[in-house]
Amino acid sequence: MTELHDTLVEFVQVLRTADVKVSPAETLDAMETLDIIGIENRVLLKNSLSMVLSKNPEEKEAFNTSFDRFFSFNKFSSENNAMEPDEDTHQDDGEFDPESDAPNQQSGQGGQGGGQGGGGGAEASGELDFEQLEAQSELGKLLLSGDRMEVMIKMAEAGRQVEVNQIVVFTQKGLYTRKIMEAMGLKGLQDEVGELQEEGGRPQMHLAGQLKGARDHLREQVRDYVEKQFFLHADESGKQLREELLKKVKLSNLEKRNFKDVQEIVFKMAKKLVSIHSKRRKTFKRGQLDIRKTLRSNMQYDGMLFDLKWKSQKVDRPKVMCICDVSGSVSNYSRFLLMFLYSLAEILPKVRSFAFSSDLGEVTRLFQQSKLEDAMAKTMRDYGNGSTDYGQMLADFRSHILKDVDSKTTVIILGDARNNYGDPKSEILREVYDKAQRVIWLNPEPKSSWTVGDAEMKKYAPCCHQTEVCNSLVHLERVVGNLLRVAV
């Protein structure tokens, strides 16, 4: 029974790397379920575990894939009869059909290999004109006994012993293969083969040959097993490692081939933020007493004021206006900021976006209607080719958009404030500052560069509520998170 539970715990680990968040309580429930339904019926097992371990459609998808991969090598030990350890196996019999009524044969991942007892035994099953010697070493005995089951069990045990589920990189395959072979008793086998070969004599040579054949066959199987473990465990964690790196890298250093990965990360972040902030908070139980509500709810107490009710305010969603510099190197940052903001459409319904290098243009409609890449490409084409002129941008903003800015608006400006020594027109920014709820300036350059050369941050910074360095996804996430967290 405990092997069953151990296997289940391993499966839960696999699920967790596949991004299905299984809690310990749910694992316990799954164990209880296993005790009730048993393991004979694969479909029942899959349905039941899916109900207990995965709690939304995405998780169910991930669960299905993991289940099929993990349990196609049935790891359950059996106490049951359908274990025909046939000596003369065909090689493709390895993948035990789990639909059959006796799927509980302890076969490890070496499915392809078939019985390695068969490989060596095939020669031996012919007539021998000398006596067949007994193998002395543990492993040798095991291999020649033809008990496929036992070998698989031992392999899985050795795997657990050397913690093959800690495998991280593909190149560790050889290392783990060797470790597992050693844990299974390779040394003893090698020694015996050496001895036999020294002794000479036909029976000894024959046995040595058998043992060597069996050993090589076993090595193949172990290698297979390790590879499958790699696909189950490491593949995902390698991906997680890459994700971590991508989050921290400077966005201008990203190459096109990373864009897709980064996009996925952005979506994930957006989803997290959505789930945190989707409930509109009410601040209550403090502040002003709401007399009307108090009186009404206390009528049941004959007018005595037992229950005090306070005025509550709904924390409203901010209206965001996002002005992005799309020239040259800053365009990468703009791309990801816009991507982020549009993934948050659920909790930031009113996002208006503008792009500029010298002239300012509204691109809201474009982003709402087309896909992200197309919209970005078109934006770059239309607005990305001028020399940066913040003064002109601000003038355009004032003449067309300033009237829509009110006390609930947050204005985000993403740019490096490099004005090519033109007129910064920071008084316009001051006007915006007065009218809007918040003005946030995001600058991809590190703070030390903010006053170097033609950067006008010194003039713009006092007109902003907040200025931030923003050049990686981590910064983006923080900024957007703060955006959502603000109380009215």
């Binding site: 809690s23 379920t33 109900m51 207990v52 709690k55």
Partner: protein, 316 residues
């Protein structure tokens, strides 16, 4: 758990069979969920698009087991006075008035405020006892003597506070009433709890963790035909096949509200009423508003009507 008629829940095929005999055709997953809910004593959270039979499942289970079905419909602002219990204020007030006379007797012999108050205390909290408690659905379900089926419908329409309220009930099958204490379910007679959700918002993780999760998708063609046959017995098989094929194709289209099983059944009934033996485009055009509830959907489908109908007719 040992509720009455629980031999019907002995294994999954039996459950399916019983459901079928009551007119509810279901898949293996659904029967598994009911089986597990009973044996693991856990509530079931049923999610899926509207109209696939989530509420029906709870009602049919209650019918199958011959237990009362207690229903709690959720909405924003639902709180514990409507869901768990409320005091019978009117009764309390009335009794105090009526018993004003006897007050004199009780306090007889007590002099001064402190003694009087002590005497009153010694009589316990009479006015906050079980007789003055008005149980609402959740409490009723817990106290039911022969167990019951508790259906908490559309839990995603309620707010986070209500979900937190439910947590104690769903994990330990008990409720705390400050004045009385903790009310626990009778061991062995816990209610069978079903929660339904349309996924309009994300249910909190704490709630999900305590439940088994069942997702009921739209059925495939075979299952849908069986369902229509069970609910509308006098439908000719050819018409059944055609209309199911039509609806299945409609579900692939980009509509604002995709027709669900209840719409299929309604449409089947409509077509029977109109004495039709098979589909034809004119008939479909006239009855389109039975399956589609938005004008823009009707327009979308009308433009493709000919093609879809022909394909559906050919499917027989």
């Amino acid at each position: 758990m040992a509720i009455k008629n629980d031999d019907k829940l002995k294994d999954i095929e039996a459950i399916r069979g019983h459901f079928e005999s009551l007119g509810y055709i279901c898949s293996v997953e659904i029967a598994t969920a009911v089986f597990l809910a009973y044996h693991l004593e856990k509530p079931v959270l049923i999610e899926g698009p509207p109209g696939v039979g989530k509420t029906e499942l709870a009602k049919t289970t209650a019918e199958m087991l011959d237990l009362p079905c207690i229903r709690l419909q959720c909405y924003e602002g639902l709180d514990e006075s409507k869901a768990i219990y409320e005091w019978k204020y009117g009764k309390q007030l009335l009794y105090t008035q009526v018993l004003k006379e006897t007050l004199g007797e009780i306090l007889d012999g007590a002099t001064g405020l402190a003694e009087s108050v002590d005497k009153l205390h010694s009589f316990g909290d009479i006015f906050f006892s079980e007789e003055f408690l008005e149980p609402r659905p959740l409490l009723k379900a817990l106290k039911a003597e022969e167990s019951c089926v508790l259906l908490i419908d559309e839990v995603d329409k309620s707010d986070h506070e209500f979900e937190s309220l439910l947590l104690e009930m769903l994990s330990d099958y008990q409720l705390s009433i400050p004045e009385i204490g903790t009310v626990k379910a009778i061991p062995g007679k816990k209610p069978l709890v079903f929660l339904t959700s349309n996924n309009t918002r994300e249910i909190s993780d704490a709630l999900k963790r305590r439940c088994l999760h069942l997702y009921i998708p739209f059925p495939n063609a075979e299952l849908e035909r069986q369902i229509v046959r069970a609910r509308v017995p006098d439908i000719p098989p050819k018409l059944n096949q055609q209309l199911v094929a039509f609806i299945q194709e409609l579900r692939e289209m980009d509509l604002k509200k995709v027709p669900a099983i209840s719409e299929t059944i309604d449409w089947a009934r409509t077509l029977i009423l109109l004495h039709s033996e098979s589909l034809d485009p004119e008939l479909v055009r006239q009855t389109l508003n039975v399956i589609l509830k938005f004008q823009e959907d009707v327009e979308t489908v009308q433009s493709e009507l000919q093609g879809v109908t022909n394909r559906a007719i050919k499917a027989t």
